[in-house]
């Protein structure tokens, strides 16, 4: 039942001839943690969108001096793709019930994520070496701000990765693993998309 149909319901009238569960009783067949994650991702999307809107608006001021992005960001992008793929691989293996496959996927995802964060710090260092530490230039400030906020989100995700890895090590129930790995995978894919948008914007401006 669509949202408009649902909002047309007349609850003050007795239900006529309805023997089956109405679809609107549970708005989603998804499990609650997945719904919770999607709500959180909606909030995070608003957050990053607002940063981008402010970025684009601030660009129009005369004191904006574009900077040349360090080459290592390309490498970092590749590493983040590997990380996201690792989670996808682990997620696929939860469907197959292959514990070894899950371990491999999680290990690859974790290592790549740490490598990504290290790479971002390296990019900061390269920028400083290039002389981009004049914070009065908003382009410089935004670079540190956007990469920092994205990195903090990834760092938060690594807490979930750590807990999921602990469950795998303890050989928890496969349904539980499917849930945890699935949630991590969705989150990492989201962070990858966010990074691609941010990186694209940084390159274009």
């Amino acid at each position: 039942m669509g949202i408009f149909q649902l909002l047309m319901e007349k609850p003050w009238l007795p239900v006529e001839g309805e023997g089956e569960e109405p679809a609107e009783q549970r708005a989603s067949s998804m499990e609650s943690p997945h719904v919770g994650l999607r709500v959180f991702l909606a909030v995070a999307t608003v957050l990053f969108t607002l940063f981008l809107v402010v970025y684009v608006e601030r660009m129009t001021f005369p004191d904006w001096r574009p900077l040349s992005e360090p080459w290592v960001l390309w490498l970092n992008t590749l590493v983040l793709i590997i990380s996201s793929a690792g989670f996808h691989w682990a997620s696929v293996n939860t469907e197959r019930g292959d514990l070894e496959g899950i371990k491999t996927g999680l290990l690859a995802a974790g290592v790549a994520s740490f490598a990504f964060l290290a790479g971002q710090l390296w990019a900061w260092q390269l920028l400083v070496d290039l002389g981009y530490y004049d914070m009065a230039n908003p382009a410089v400030g935004f670079f540190y701000l956007l990469t920092g906020v994205h990195g903090v989100h990834l760092l938060g995700g690594l807490v979930a990765w750590f807990r999921t890895s602990a469950k795998v090590k303890a050989e928890a129930d496969m349904a539980q693993l499917r849930m945890s790995v699935g949630l991590c995978a969705v989150y990492w894919h989201f962070l990858l998309v966010v990074w691609l948008v941010l990186f694209g914007l940084l390159l274009l401006t």
């Binding site: 909002l7 609850p11 009783q25 549970r26 719904v35 909606a42 608003v46 601030r58 001021f61 914070m135």
Partner: protein, 589 residues
């Protein structure tokens, strides 16, 4: 039309909501301190919010003392005054009202009213409270750092918020910004719970359109908050960067004390847009739960079904959506393009339509109702009057041509105190008088309650109606002292002194409310299981107050929450979970 019981199978959805594994506390500490039970968390949220609200109240007294009797109280310096204004505003809007409506009422009522055992993510819910408490403590700490709390005004506009001429521009502003960021993180954790619990954990038969309007209000306000708070977060983080790292996101090239600062050409207006993109929905983050609660109070205490339930839901959702398109009406005097002002004036006036629908529906619910002048009803009626009053002055200020001369005068102060200060607080009181018997098993004392209501209601008007007049005279807001002016008569000062005296009396009268809360805990009349004869599920628990897990067996819902005075039915209410076959339709039968 007499009541005809439909066949049970026609009303009960076939599938059952799965039982959830409930967290059980193993010690006193995990049961009452680091609790994961939404009801305990609700009480923690409410206690903290009310405690910090009392700090806000004392700050308002200090401001009023200065305004009413300038040059009498030497201990109030101009910088103190600005700190009081700033922290009072921030406390009342965010740390009191938002936290109390969503963290307090939301946590207590959502699981009970939707027929769930608890919130869906209890651990995250617990974290939400402790982060909120951390935010509150940081805010208070800011008074004790060198330079004191920020005195930038609750809108924290740059550049003045972080320049050295403003009180608290050292540590105070940083603590305020970090406290806000923490609050938002904590709220997001709680908000996820409220939204997902409403979407996922409703009991069997509880369709979205059978939810009590209290839940619709809290749910929609939470969605608004989840989408609006990020704007404040972005603004707070970027301003912290400007202050600590010397970025120029908002800070323009500026001279301070004759010296050029290192800032580039940032845009203070960008911050204003971010702030109000959060700030206006914030009005409805506070108002929507109040709308929902008032709808339920009016229906229960007039023994009449809510008039136009469906329209009420649409209005709540419509107001929520529209609230994201009106923010710049707070910025008419910032030098915006006239067409931009025209657009925002139009959207502002449009939002009055769904709001008016709600007011009409409350009135029509009362029409021919069996009105019981109980304390919750008195507060609900007072809310309607006050909200209409504050709403109408909002129509004045929503129009650019009227707003410009009234901007930054006491008229604006009077308007927003009526509409989002007094009105929601009246609902908070109404809600507490209504649900106190559920939370404690005891009724609040009627006499003390009546005293509290009349002093608060009449007092609030005695305070804020004169402020409208002062605003028309041109008395500006935010001024520490008026000094001598040609355009404001001397009698304005007498009015200011009068308002201060009344504000002190109304503030002190709140002591009676707190005495009542504590006195009734032991001495209040036993409430029984459903003292107001309400239909909604929170009154259908196995015991009162509800125990851990709320219900013995999860209830099954057969109808909406407003079956009061149904023709042909013996009782004047039919609980949501009463099977149709058990509805008694013949006298004594």
């Amino acid at each position: 039309m007499a009541y005809v019981a439909p066949a049970e199978a026609e009303q009960i959805p076939a599938a059952e909501v799965e039982e959830v594994e409930l967290y059980h506390a193993k010690s006193w500490v995990t049961k009452y301190v680091f609790s994961q039970d939404a009801k305990v968390i609700a009480i923690q949220y409410s206690t903290t919010a009310i405690a910090i609200g009392l700090v806000g109240l004392v700050l308002s007294w200090l401001m009023r003392l200065q305004l009413g009797f300038p040059e009498v109280f030497d201990f109030i310096e101009p910088s103190d005054y600005y700190q009081f204004i700033t922290v009072h505003g921030m406390i009342m809007v965010i740390y009191l009202l938002t936290a109390l409506f969503l963290g307090g009422f939301g946590n207590y009522l959502i699981p009970l009213m939707v027929g769930a055992r608890d919130m869906v993510f209890p651990y995250v819910n617990m974290l939400s409270y402790w982060i909120y408490l951390g935010a509150v403590l940081l805010l208070i700490t800011s008074f004790f750092v060198p330079g004191g709390a920020t005195g930038a005004g609750w809108t924290l506009y740059p550049p003045q918020a972080i320049l050295s001429g403003t009180p608290g521009s050292e540590g105070g502003i940083i603590l305020m910004l970090v406290s806000l960021a923490l609050f938002i993180i904590g709220f997001t954790m709680g908000g996820l719970n409220y939204v997902v619990t409403v979407l996922q954990a409703r009991t069997r038969g509880m369709t979205l359109m059978r939810l009590p309007l209290t839940i619709w209000g809290i749910f929609t306000a939470t969605v608004l908050a989840l989408l609006a708070f990020p704007a404040l977060f972005v603004g707070a983080v970027m301003m912290t960067f400007d202050k600590l790292l010397g970025t120029s996101f908002f800070m323009p090239a500026i001279v301070e004390m004759g010296e050029y600062l290192d800032y580039g050409g940032g845009s203070p207006l960008l911050f204003q847009h971010l702030f109000w993109f959060f700030g206006h929905p914030e009005v409805y983050i506070v108002a929507l739960p109040a709308f929902g609660i008032v709808s339920d109070l009016i229906s229960v205490h007039s023994r009449r079904h809510i008039f136009g339930y469906r329209m009420m839901v649409w209005a709540i959702v419509g107001i929520g959506a529209l609230s994201f398109f009106v923010w710049a009406h707070h910025m008419y005097v910032s030098g915006m393009n006239p067409w931009f002002g025209f657009f925002f004036a139009t959207t502002t006036l449009i939002i009055a339509v769904p709001t008016a629908i709600k007011v009409y529906n409350w009135t029509l619910t009362l029409w021919k109702g069996n009105i019981q002048f109980t304390l919750p009803m008195l507060f609900a009626l007072a809310f309607i009057v006050t909200f209409v009053n504050g709403g109408i002055t909002g129509l004045f200020l929503g129009n650019v041509v009227v707003d410009v001369p009234l901007s930054d005068t006491m008229f604006v102060v009077a308007h927003f105190h009526m509409v989002m200060g007094v009105a929601p607080i009246l609902v908070v009181f109404g809600g507490i008088y209504h649900w106190y018997p559920l939370i404690t098993g005891r009724m609040l004392h009627e006499g003390m309650g009546q005293f509290h209501f009349w002093v608060t209601f009449i007092g609030a008007y005695t305070i804020f109606l004169p402020l409208h007049y002062l605003g028309f005279l041109g008395v500006p807001r935010r001024y520490f002292e008026m000094g001598e002016t040609n355009f404001i008569p001397e009698s304005a000062q007498d009015l200011n002194a009068f308002v201060t005296v009344v504000a002190l009396i109304v503030g002190v009268a709140q002591v009676v409310f707190f005495i009542n809360l504590f006195w009734s805990l032991r001495n209040g009349k036993q409430a029984g299981s459903n003292p107001w004869k309400a239909c909604s599920l929170e009154w259908r628990t196995a015991q009162v107050p509800p125990g851990h897990g709320n219900f013995d067996d999860l209830p099954v819902v057969y109808r909406w929450a407003y079956d009061y005075g149904v023709p042909g039915v013996d009782e004047d209410f039919i609980p949501q979970d009463l099977p149709p076959a058990q509805v008694s339709t013949g006298k004594g039968g």
